[in-house]
């Protein structure tokens, strides 16, 4: 179970404090799949970082009684000056995993071959996404936080991700952010829209979808 109670998040900007999240409370339990829609800059990634514990809310309480992954996104989680292999070793050490076995898995999954010995900063977006995804699959969590990871990469990579995440780990909880509405519809059972600091839950995808489009000012006549 992950429980958010009265979460506020404020970022200081040059133009004064900007409220990104306003009094957000919700919880989700084992095996639940929650999709969050919202415009660019609505605060979706911030919400995911707060849930992961990488960042702290300005006020409010988050309790986690299941293991939660770090936000699986293209950036982040890696040190760019280190090689892919060294990043795998770093993460293995932090989560007390055997590096050698992980390296074999990542090798096979990413097909990055010799590039794994190059610094991550020299990778393309797609290569980075492949590495990020593979590395996050070496550690088993009860809940995965997925921040647009599927937006890059080729069809083969997508297929592999589907198999790993929604095939082998169908029983885990997931919090999914994506601009790919079809992806969210397919994989989630609960839907919410984040708009101007408010997170509103909708009973089905169509209502969430309509609200999201309204926020985007599309489809208005």
């Amino acid at each position: 179970m992950i429980c958010l109670e009265h979460i506020h998040k404020v970022y200081p900007t040059r133009a004064g404090d900007r409220v990104v999240l306003k009094d957000i409370s919700f919880s989700f339990g084992k095996g639940e799949k929650l999709g969050i829609l919202g415009r660019n800059g609505a605060g979706k990634s911030t919400l995911v970082r707060l849930v992961s514990g990488a960042e702290r809310p300005t006020s409010g309480q988050i309790t986690r009684s299941m293991s939660v992954s770090w936000p699986l996104a293209f950036g982040g989680a890696f040190q760019n000056a280190l090689t892919g292999l060294d990043n795998i070793r770093f993460i293995s050490r932090i989560y007390r995993q055997e590096a050698d076995r992980n390296i074999d898995f990542v090798h096979e999954f990413t097909e990055l071959g010799p590039y794994l010995r190059e610094p991550v900063r020299s990778y393309s977006q797609g290569m980075r996404a492949r590495l990020a995804f593979a590395v996050s699959m070496i550690i088993e969590f009860d809940c995965y936080l997925i921040d647009e990871i599927s937006a890059v990469g080729d069809a083969k990579f997508h297929e592999k991700c589907e198999a790993e995440l929604f095939g082998k780990r169908y029983d885990r909880a997931m919090l999914i952010i994506s601009h790919d509405l079809e992806y969210v519809r397919k994989h989630c059972q609960r839907y919410a829209v984040l708009h101007e600091g408010d997170l509103i839950f909708y009973p089905d995808f169509d209502q969430a979808h309509d609200a999201h489009l309204r926020n985007l000012h599309i489809g208005q006549t």
Binding site: A54, E55, Q79, L82, I94
Partner: protein, 265 residues
């Protein structure tokens, strides 16, 4: 109840050590890489520094107000400078290159600092010990009169350097001024730090004031340990401990603020 608390504490300590170990390896790799002598630079670099300064001071027969052997004087003085100066230098701006690693919940601001402090403190210590042993071996230096006193002084300087480093490191996340000011400040503090003089060689009026500089007390203790009763070491240990405690508390307060404000990349 106490037992469960203890085991929870034990688990936290285990996690923290794991994270610090991982960060240590990461720092060593990005700083020294796998080229030429790699990790050995950790202490070869301070050794080169100290050897260079020792040579210069020997050649110019530096006036230091005592009849101590110049090699021992330069070694103890300059090694101490490296110890208190390098730790803050490496901790200022240490968070930024590690921001992306803070995606992992267990990686916290303090871990990044501790990893760098272990590296810098370790490097300066290995350099000091190795050079001491080398100079003793070739006969330029007599073995220390009291190794424990040397260690006491060294630890005091390390404590001062470490708390200053964490304080400035955490503060530098909020203002760029720290980085700009640290360079001139540390440079100007060098002649005042006791590296190049004994307090007893100063005029009595100045002695009183110079002891307000915390590092001076530590360097005097190191020299007392090294030279025994050949020198008249003047220091105020309780004052230095007070400074370190105060600085440590300030440092931890700044870390708490940084923890709250940090936004992973």
């Amino acid at each position: 109840m106490i037992l469960t608390q203890l085991s929870a504490l034990g688990r936290s300590a285990e996690v923290q050590w794991r994270v610090i170990h991982a960060l240590l390896m990461r720092e060593i790799l990005t700083r020294y890489g796998r080229h030429n002598i790699g990790f050995l630079w950790l202490f070869v670099e301070p050794m080169l520094f100290t050897t260079g300064v020792t040579t210069l001071w020997t050649l110019t027969k530096s006036v230091h107000g005592s009849n101590l052997p110049i090699v021992a004087f330069a070694l103890s003085g300059y090694s101490a400078v490296l110890l208190w100066r390098n730790m803050p230098s490496r901790c200022i701006g240490a968070i930024e290159p590690n921001l992306s690693l803070m995606y992992h919940r267990n990686v916290r601001v303090i871990d990044i600092f501790v990893a760098r402090l272990i590296l810098e403190g370790g490097g300066a210590t290995i350099s000091f010990v190795t050079l001491s042993l080398f100079f003793i071996y070739i006969g330029w230096l007599d073995p220390p009169a009291d190794v424990l006193t040397v260690a006491k002084g060294w630890l005091m300087i390390a404590w001062f350097g470490a708390s200053l480093a964490i304080f400035l490191g955490a503060l530098s996340e909020r203002t760029e001024l720290i980085e700009k000011i640290w360079h001139p400040a540390s440079y100007l503090a060098f002649p005042l730090s006791g590296a190049a003089f004994m307090v007893s060689a100063l005029p009595p009026a100045a002695q009183h004031y110079i002891l307000y500089v915390p590092m001076v007390n530590g360097v005097e203790i190191v020299r007392e340990g090294y030279f025994g009763n050949k020198v008249n070491a003047i220091y105020d240990l309780p004052y230095m401990i007070g400074c370190c405690v105060a600085l440590t508390l300030l440092a931890l307060a700044q870390v708490a603020i940084a923890n709250r404000e940090i936004t992973p990349e």
